[in-house]
Symmetry: C2
Subunit: 249 residues, 2 copies
């Protein structure tokens, strides 16, 4: 079965948040991404793929009992956001937006108005690398299901769950030490973090919002040795998580 | 003075490496970038800027005795690669491609076929943050003067000098311990790096080239705790530099 004009236009509409929210569906692009997706617990509506991808992954596709459509590479590129996609694309159901169960969590990353989709994807990848399972994000943070987030997370969005909420209310009721990343504060090279704990990462330009500062137990910073003004939010998150894990040893 | 059609087409041509190499010139975009540039020792041929930018930075512009052209915001966007540029753009001379003087260096980052301009810019920013002054890159690494590198480095390309060369020959003659970042090796959380030393970062997909492996004194790795396959090259570089500085304490 191939893809009808109507289905193609439905898939393309999922590039926009408005339609993703309305349909509660999003798109995963690329052969590697679709294979990883099929190994996850996400519900897949449809896989559009080239004949060679379908042949190679037939058992996996059958085990997922998903609707498989034959496509050309050119069509896959039309349907998605990648400039090159030689294998596959999937239409996937969003998961419900649920708060993390805190008793299983050692470290929780909280994102305050993180706007750049590439940064969000990279942060999910870093969280996954360092074994974190949950992120909490303000409602004005980039959308998890934005194609750029999905792609730059390199599959980590499948393992790291993101909960969008009002951070003021969330932090007010959070029974964990709350560390905030600032340009000034205790050095991550000296400071001993409590475990479990929560680390707040601020907006790329403005840092942590004024209304969240009262909830920060301790400001922490990454010591600089040169003349750069800052590290970007994704680099800072990665460095903090590395320091947290290193301290456990 | 405004910008002639001929000058505009010259500036636009500098988006391409071919013309940058031929003209030995490149473009710096954005008000903040141009201000930082004017504080550096780079030679500036021309600044195109809005009347308000020219008024605000008149003394600095005069002190650089550079050719200043009045421009609109719309024109600045046409001339460069940014989607928004409310202030300025400069045409700048490349610096000669010279090897670093090693006696002043504590840590030297070496990039092997790092292809993504955004990654290169982010690595320069990380090097600058951690006080490194030089990077050595293979000839097939992304071009330092690519607009995306200049922009994503956030001004750090002004302070961190990049030398392009044949890495096989360079490493063969380098009288420093040479550490290579791999997915397996000594953990950066346990390992003690010699100082001074050199750290080789490999290509985004293929890691460090086979022909460079004989020169690696020691493989090092960033320990992972979750299921992500890897960190990206820029994140890995940032984490290694953080560990190097942390170890000095």
């Amino acid at each position: 079965v191939t893809i009808s004009k109507k289905t193609a236009s439905f898939i393309r509409s999922l590039q926009l948040k408005k339609y993703r929210t309305q349909e509660q569906r999003f798109v995963v692009e690329g052969g590697k991404g679709v294979v990883e997706l099929m190994g996850s617990d996400f519900e897949i509506d449809m896989v559009a793929a080239t004949p060679s991808f379908i042949e190679e992954h037939e058992p996996l596709l059958k085990s997922r009992a998903t609707d498989v459509r034959v496509s050309t590479e050119a069509r896959l590129i039309q349907l998605g956001s990648l400039q090159s996609n030689m294998h596959a694309l999937a239409v996937v159901r969003m998961k419900p937006n649920l708060p993390p169960t805190l008793d299983k969590i050692d470290y929780l990353v909280v994102l305050d108005a993180l706007r750049d989709p590439g940064n969000l994807g990279t942060i999910l990848r870093a969280c996954d690398w360092y074994g974190l399972t949950h992120v909490v994000a303000s409602e004005d943070t980039a959308d998890l299901y934005n194609p750029k987030v999905v792609i730059s997370s390199m599959g980590s969005f499948l393992r790291v769950r993101t909960f969008y909420t009002n951070l003021e209310q969330y932090l007010m009721n959070l029974n964990l030490p709350i560390y905030g990343m600032f340009l000034e504060g205790a050095s991550v090279h000296d400071f001993t973090f409590d475990k479990p704990c929560c680390i707040v990462i601020g907006n790329e330009s403005h840092g942590i919002s004024a209304n969240l500062k009262p909830f920060i137990t301790q400001s922490v910073t990454i010591p600089g040795y040169g003349k750069a003004e800052s590290l970007n939010a994704a680099m800072a998150t990665t460095v903090v998580l590395d320091n947290l894990r290193r301290l456990e040893k």
